[in-house]
Structure formats: C-alpha cells, structure tokens
C-alpha cells in the first residue's frame, strides 16, 4: 500500500519549470530513492513534501491525507520526519537535551506552556532519550555540546532525533553529503539497521550511487523536473535512459 502519493505535481519558479507532472508513489515499509543529476528538481520535490514549498499543481497525499498547505510542524506531527543535507541540530544544547526535544514534542504536542516544571525531573522523557542515545551509540556524549561533535556524529544525532518521534516516513536529503568515506559507511550501516529493525518507510534523495544501491528497494530517476523511470535497483543500473540523463546524449 502506498503511504505517500504524489500526483501531477508541478512547480514553476518564474520562467523555470522546476517540476512538471511528477507522479510518485512510495510503498509502506520500503526504501525509495530519488536520484537525478544536478538541477533535476530533487530538492524542490522534497520541499513540496514537507510544506516548505507549495506546488502550483497536483496533490501530495500522506496516508490518505493531503499535506499541502499545512505548516512544517503540522506535517511532522502527521508522522513525517526529515533529515537535512547539512545536519540540523540544536548546536547550543547538549546532546541529551537535543534528544529530549522531539520526545517532548511527541508527548506535549506543538506547544506546551510548562515553565514551572523541571526538565531534569521528566523521568519518562529522559529515559526514552537515554535509550535512543544508547541505540545510536552515543550515550557517552550525552553531556557534550552538540555543535562540538563531528559531522558524522551530528548526522547520527539528527537521525536519532527523527527516529525518537517514531515517524512513519523518514525523508533523507543527501544524508552523506560532505562526509568522509568512513562516516558514509557508518551512516549506511545505521540506515540499513533502521530499515531492518523498524516499521518505517524511507524516502532518500542522494547523489552517491554507492549509498543508493546499498539501501534502496525502488529507485525513481528524475531529470529536468520529470520522472524518467522508476524500477528496482538492478534494472536501473543498466537502463539506457538513465545513462543518457547522467552522461549526456552521446553516451
């Protein structure tokens, strides 16, 4: 069953047709990758999914409900979490506090006025945050300032924060961009583990073919704002249209 349905989505920036009639359906509990050369409209598509941009035409349905016109925090509360190209974490806060925030958001909703409760007495939240840090293998860093960590650790924390909300759909925007090989491999292992152990749907946008082919169940190739082909990784590898899009007409 499709958890995310994108139908005829188009987006135009002035004279540039960034997206034209994109149709995409992501099945539940699979990992769906969206690849394409620079300027293919991958990030525009992602921004349309999470409420940062509103497409000119078409519809985006998550679990049978439209996400269009909703604010980012509302879309997140529906069960969509997003990992950014550069890790977006709370740099001034400690790692533990970072991990507590999404759990507070899940427990208390989008806004809670509780200025007289003590944060260090919220045992249920702290317990869950500690457990998630344990899962992410970063329990020893819990009192560190998040900004002081390496990029790989920041990414790990960000993914952990997203997972602690128990989202149904995890969107990843080039999760290994700008990472060293070792960090990339760690991230791939982490994502594989998440995919195997949890009931979660993953949609991933990626440049790095190594990452895509080690994770994806299905791949959509985007070129010039429209989907070129959608198939399993094995079929995509040798597809003539994909080679054409990536390498130019002559290939």
């Amino acid at each position: 069953m499709a958890i995310l349905e994108v139908k005829d989505v188009g987006k135009r920036f002035g004279g540039l047709q960034a997206l034209g009639d994109v149709n995409l359906s992501v099945a539940e509990n699979t990992c769906h990758a969206i690849i394409g050369p620079n300027g293919a409209g991958k990030s525009t598509l992602l921004n349309c999914l999470i409420g940062k941009l509103i497409p000119d035409t078409g519809s985006v349905m998550f679990d049978g409900k439209s996400v269009l016109g909703r604010k980012p925090h509302e879309i997140n509360q529906m069960g969509i979490s997003r990992v950014f190209q550069t890790p977006e974490i709370f740099g001034d806060l400690t790692v533990l506090e970072n991990m507590m925030i999404p759990i507070f958001a899940e427990r208390d909703g989008a806004f809670a006025l509780n200025p007289l409760k003590m944060a260090d007495k919220q045992a249920d939240v702290i317990e869950r945050a500690e457990a998630m840090l344990e899962d992410m293998n970063m329990a020893d860093k819990r009192h560190m300032h998040a900004a002081a960590m390496s990029r790989g650790d920041k990414r790990r924390l960000e993914i952990g924060m997203c997972l602690s909300q128990q989202p149904r759909l995890l969107l990843l925007d080039e999760p290994t961009a700008g990472m060293a090989r070792a960090d990339t491999n760690n991230t791939i292992d982490l994502l594989k583990q998440i995919k195997d152990e949890r009931d979660i749907t993953i949609a991933i946008i990626e440049h790095d073919m190594h990452v895509v082919f080690s994770l994806a169940d299905r791949i959509t190739v985007l070129a010039q704002g429209t989907p070129l082909v959608e198939d399993t990784p094995d079929k995509i590898k040798g597809h003539p249209k994909v080679r054409e899009a990536y390498l130019g007409e002559s290939a």
Binding site: E88, I101, F104, P115, M118, A119, D120
Partner: protein
C-alpha cells in the same frame, strides 16, 4: 530546595543574602569620609537596583533564551507605571492593586505588540518593537494626555476619588499601612545604615521573580526557548510551533517589565512618558549584555552596575576632583583634573561606554564570564601543584576509522 538543584539553590541563597544585607554591603565607607560619596546604600538607589534587576531578569528571559532582541521593552515599563498610578488615583495608596494591575496591563499590551512583531525575526523584529515603543512614547506625550497627563506626568492629586482611602490611611504609597518611604536608620560608630520598607518589598518581589526565572530556565519550556535561539528550522521539523513559544516568552518578559514599572510608581507615585523612550529600552539591553545575556544572575549584576554608575559617578564633579588631587602641585592638579573631567560628572556616559566596549570585546559573556575567568584562575593555581588539573590532561587517542 524549592525543587531546584543544589547549584541553583546556592545561587538563590546568595542573591537572597545580598538583598538582605545590601544596606550594609553598599555602605562600606563611614559617613563624612572622603569615600562616603561612593556609598550606594541609600533607599532611593537600592530600590532602583532591585527594580531594574527585575526588569533585566525579565528581559533576559526573552533575549537571553530565545535571542529575540526587543528594543521596546521600556513601553511595558511605562504602561506598568501608568497603571499603578491610576490605581493610586482611583482606589488609594495601597500598592498591591497597583502592582497587580500593572502586571496584567503590561501582559495584555505585550501580547498585542508581540503578536504583531513576532511575525518577523532578527533586525526586523527589533525595529518593529522599537517602532511600537516610540509610538507609545509619542502618544503618551500628546494624544493620550487624558490618560497620561502628557508632559507633566501622571500623579495623584488631592481631589482624586481614591475610593478605598480610609480616614486614617497614610497619604503616601503603603502596603496595608506599611509606608514605602519608612526608613529605619541605624548608626554604628561612624557608619549610617538605612533599612527602607519599600526597598525590602522590592527585594522580596525580586527574589520571587528571580526564583521564577530559574524555574523557567530549567523547565522543558526553557529548553524549547533555547531551541528557538539555536535552530528554528529543526524545531519546526520536529513538530514544534516556535511562534507560541516566542510569544509566551515575550509576554512573560513584558509582565516582568510591567511589574518593574508598577514598583517604580509604588516607590515614587509618579509616571512620565520619558520612561518609555528608546533610551530606556536600550538601557535594559545594555544591562543584560553587560551582565551576561542568557545567564541567571548576569542581568541583575548588569542592572546594578549601570545604576551605580548613573547615580554615583555622575555626582563626582570638578570640585570633588580638586579635593582628591589637592596634594599635587597646582599646575599638575589642574592638569589631572582636566584629564579626568570628561569621564565623571555629566561625562559618566563616556566611562560607561568605554567599559561596555571593553566588556563586549574582551568578555563576550559579560561580567559573569569575567567572574568565571577569575575563579578559574584561582582554581588552576590551587590545583597545579597536585598535577590533577582537569583541563590539561593528555588528549584521548583519536579514532580514525572503525
């Protein structure tokens, strides 16, 4: 104690002790001595220390935690003052209704201004709040004269209704009969210590407000406010709506400002429009940054520091300087006085400005950071002989790849 951890409890007790013993601490020099003019332990100034302390604590909840720099907080202070004086005019000189109303009115006013201004962030937010405050100031001066009494300032007249005034109620601000200007003077040898009822009322309220601020800092709500400052993007994509958080912080700090305004009017039942001017808004920004934005005690220190300069340094005039340097030969004496002249008296702003620049450049964390550095210096000196310095140990071997 009070649900705080030991570190915060200690801080609270230190502040309580400082407030309680302020009349002694601020009057270290005997009366009539050369240095007596550096004494700050008189009621008027001590009241101002704690009132502006409240103002700065509240401002710090907004600026220190969320990073939203409001340039219009004096408007809430002014609104608080006007509300309190109106209560004196209508009900009588008991300060309680005035203080309560000043908090409520400032809260409502900040809700309105915050709701509009918080649609923008950064410099645009600052400009919007500044515009609102200047607008309030100009209106209080002109078209709102029926409410604010314009340039004269709002004050209590003998023909005001004062419905709750009994036959023998005191004719000055009081709390259930305890007059705010009542001062007990204690002479100890050459020293004179003054214990003022109004000061202690303000000090108790400041302690409660300080305790409240500590609770806010340590609450889940406080973590969210710091999250707003750090990364609003991540906050929104974590399912949190940052707007109500910033608005709540804005209203809370507006209510603190209103309370400070109400207390100011309670100490001296008079409210003028100049209390809302942008210089007054800028002053609280200076206090917070000078003391250390985002720290608990910093803004209180900053408030005390600036008020001390304003009231003590400004009193040093040329004749005082001549008195100090009388031991020098005449020509040299005139020269030294001429050099120091721009820094004291009416030139106290210059000294304060230079100090502010030095603090911002060398101690970006404010006076608190200065204190921490000094403390660290002492700790290091003590620990080095043992070879157990926690900050200088061999670095753990970095792991390259796994």
């Amino acid at each position: 104690m009070f649900g705080l951890n030991s570190k915060d409890t200690r801080l609270l007790l230190i502040v309580a002790a400082l407030c309680l013993f302020a009349p002694f601490l601020l009057n270290p020099f005997p009366e009539g001595s050369e240095l007596a003019q550096f004494n700050a332990g008189y009621p008027d100034l001590m009241q101002r220390f704690v009132i502006f302390g409240i103002f700065a604590i509240g401002f710090n909840i907004l600026f220190g935690l969320t990073g939203y720099l409001s340039f219009g907080h004096a408007a809430f202070l002014g609104v608080g003052s006007y509300s309190a004086v109106w209560m004196f005019k209508l009900l009588g000189y008991n300060v309680l209704p005035g203080i309560v109303l000043s908090v409520i009115v400032a809260g409502l006013f900040s809700l309105l201004i915050g709701f509009i201004s918080l649609r923008r962030s950064g410099i645009y937010f600052s400009i919007l709040t500044l515009a609102f405050a200047q607008m309030s100031f100009a209106m209080a001066y002109s078209v709102l004269t029926p409410i604010t009494n314009g340039e004269t300032g709002l004050q209590v007249y003998t023909d005001d209704p004062q419905f709750l005034m009994g036959a023998n109620s005191p004719n000055v601000p009081h709390l259930f009969g305890l007059q705010m200007n009542a001062t007990y003077k204690m002479e100890l040898g050459a020293w004179l210590f003054q214990f003022n009822a109004g000061y202690y009322l303000c000090a108790i309220i400041m302690l409660v407000m300080f305790y409240l601020a500590v609770r806010i800092f340590r609450s889940p709500f406080g973590i969210m406010l710091r999250a707003v400052k750090t990364n609003q993007n991540r906050m929104n994509f974590t399912g949190l709506n940052s707007r109500p958080y910033t608005l709540a912080a804005f209203v809370i700090s507006g209510m603190y400002a209103g309370l400070a305004g109400g207390l100011m009017a309670s100490m001296d039942p008079l409210a003028g429009a100049e209390r809302m001017q942008w210089t007054a808004s800028g002053e609280v920004v200076l206090m917070t940054i000078l003391g250390g934005a985002g720290t608990l005690i910093g803004p209180v220190l900053g408030a005390g520091f600036i008020k001390y300069f304003e009231n003590i340094f400004s009193k040093i005039n040329d004749s005082v300087l001549h008195g100090w340097f009388a031991f020098l030969p005449d020509g040299l004496e005139d020269f030294v006085v001429a050099i120091l002249h721009p820094f004291v008296g009416k030139g106290w702003h210059l000294t304060l400005g230079i100090l502010f620049m030095l603090v911002v450049i060398f101690l970006p964390g404010g006076l608190i950071e200065g204190g921490q550095r000094v403390a660290r210096l002492f700790r290091r000196k003590k620990q080095t002989p043992d070879g157990k310095d926690p900050e200088h140990h061999p670095k753990p071997a970095p792991h390259v790849a796994e």
